[in-house]
Symmetry: C2
Subunit: 243 residues, 2 copies
């Protein structure tokens, strides 16, 4: 595990930066030089969206009320729509869209397995935090693409993914059951660690230049993750929870 | 259980009519006089679509290959899109869209529970046959609405719901494992019985006119179900299975 991660947990516990939005701050810290190839970026992101959609589908199926089912259904539709948009982009590039996802299935499936949570509330928090973090991260990667590709792909990740529906459901649940908060705060802390690892892994596919020392590479990646963690903290704040 | 159902199984085993499409034959047999009120029709259909979507979401999550996941994702997106369209229609009518679904949740949840199947293959057959039958049935009901409402609602049910994607997945699976066919044929027979019962139940909500004898009512409903069963038989035929 790279050096950045050894400090990861501490940074999450006491973040100081409040980013307004990751997209708006992309000039300050970007991943341009670490951007994977287009098939890698799209293939992984398409499979991640499918995983997020599966989680939302399970949240719909296990929701305690009809209203929650309907709200989660709206969020699930957006997730599968993003998946389809990425698959269409792969098709338009003349690539095998299913094949482009294959290299990432084992890793993403394992991430999904680890982040299911023990009940519906934890699962909804997973949907909220992982869609947010991985969407922000993909938007960062897409901002390093060339003009045309960037113009087509970046909006897929910056478009509404149902943040307010999900935070609304969680806030409602915590109002009804105030003791839920501390359990969700703990689950959120565990989630962000796993989520950072799966995001970080997608940068490993980039050919490593032996002339660049890992520490130097980490130094360039770290500011991006600081922003992503700040956005995560803002999402936890929206639930009244400490990240 | 009404008299029609006592003969149901026999009729399914040896259907003789091959309808080209239910929509095209609506002049021959229709449910106009049994059409539920608009909130009933839309509320029930919206919840049925949510149930179909949940099943598809579970089929995505448990699919054996990435290609199957992607194909099922496309079908799931259509199912949740139909749900949203029906909810929007309820909203546009100034009705409480979630509340409109509530009267039907227990019955539809029970139907869902009974039709899960024992593995992914049976679940995909459930998605294929129940979406087909219940979609055709709802299209029939919608054809009894007044002009404007009919023009807005009927296309939701007649639009593509992923029939070819689902039959493609099932045919592929049976090619790889020819012994699957007889098991799926049996499951299909069980499904159609449960599906007819849940469809028939939605006509019970109509105020029953005591002047109309049940037998006469049944006589008018029966031709519609004959068409729906014929369409079901065509879907089984597309899998090389006897209904």
């Amino acid at each position: 595990v790279a050096s950045w991660f050894s400090r990861g947990r501490q940074r999450i516990a006491a973040p100081t930066l409040r980013a307004r939005s990751v997209a708006k701050t992309s000039s300050r810290a970007d991943l341009e030089e670490f951007t994977p190839t287009v098939p890698e970026l799209l293939g992984r992101a398409a499979y991640v969206q499918l995983m997020l959609f599966e989680n939302l589908g399970r949240a719909v199926a296990t929701a305690p009320t009809t209203a929650a089912k309907a709200a989660l259904g709206r969020v699930a539709e957006r997730a599968i729509g993003k998946h389809r948009a990425l698959m269409s982009e792969l098709d338009a590039l003349g690539l095998d869209s299913t094949g482009a996802m294959e290299p990432f299935t084992a890793e993403v499936d394992e991430f999904q397995r680890m982040t299911q949570g023990s009940d519906w509330f934890e699962l909804v928090l997973t949907c909220y935090l992982t869609a947010g973090f991985l969407g922000d991260f993909s938007a960062k990667l897409a901002s390093g693409l060339d003009g045309d590709e960037r113009a087509r792909i970046e909006p897929v990740f910056t478009a509404d993914w149902g943040e307010h529906e999900l935070s609304g459901l969680l806030n409602e649940a915590m109002e009804e059951n105030p003791r839920l908060g501390s359990r969700l705060a703990m689950w959120g802390r565990r989630l962000v660690g796993d989520t950072m690892l799966v995001a970080r892994a997608s940068l490993r596919h980039k050919d490593h230049d032996p002339a660049v020392h890992y520490a130097a590479e980490e130094a360039r990646i770290e500011p991006v993750f600081t922003e992503l963690v700040a956005a995560h903290t803002r999402r936890m704040d929206a639930l009244g929870l400490t990240a």
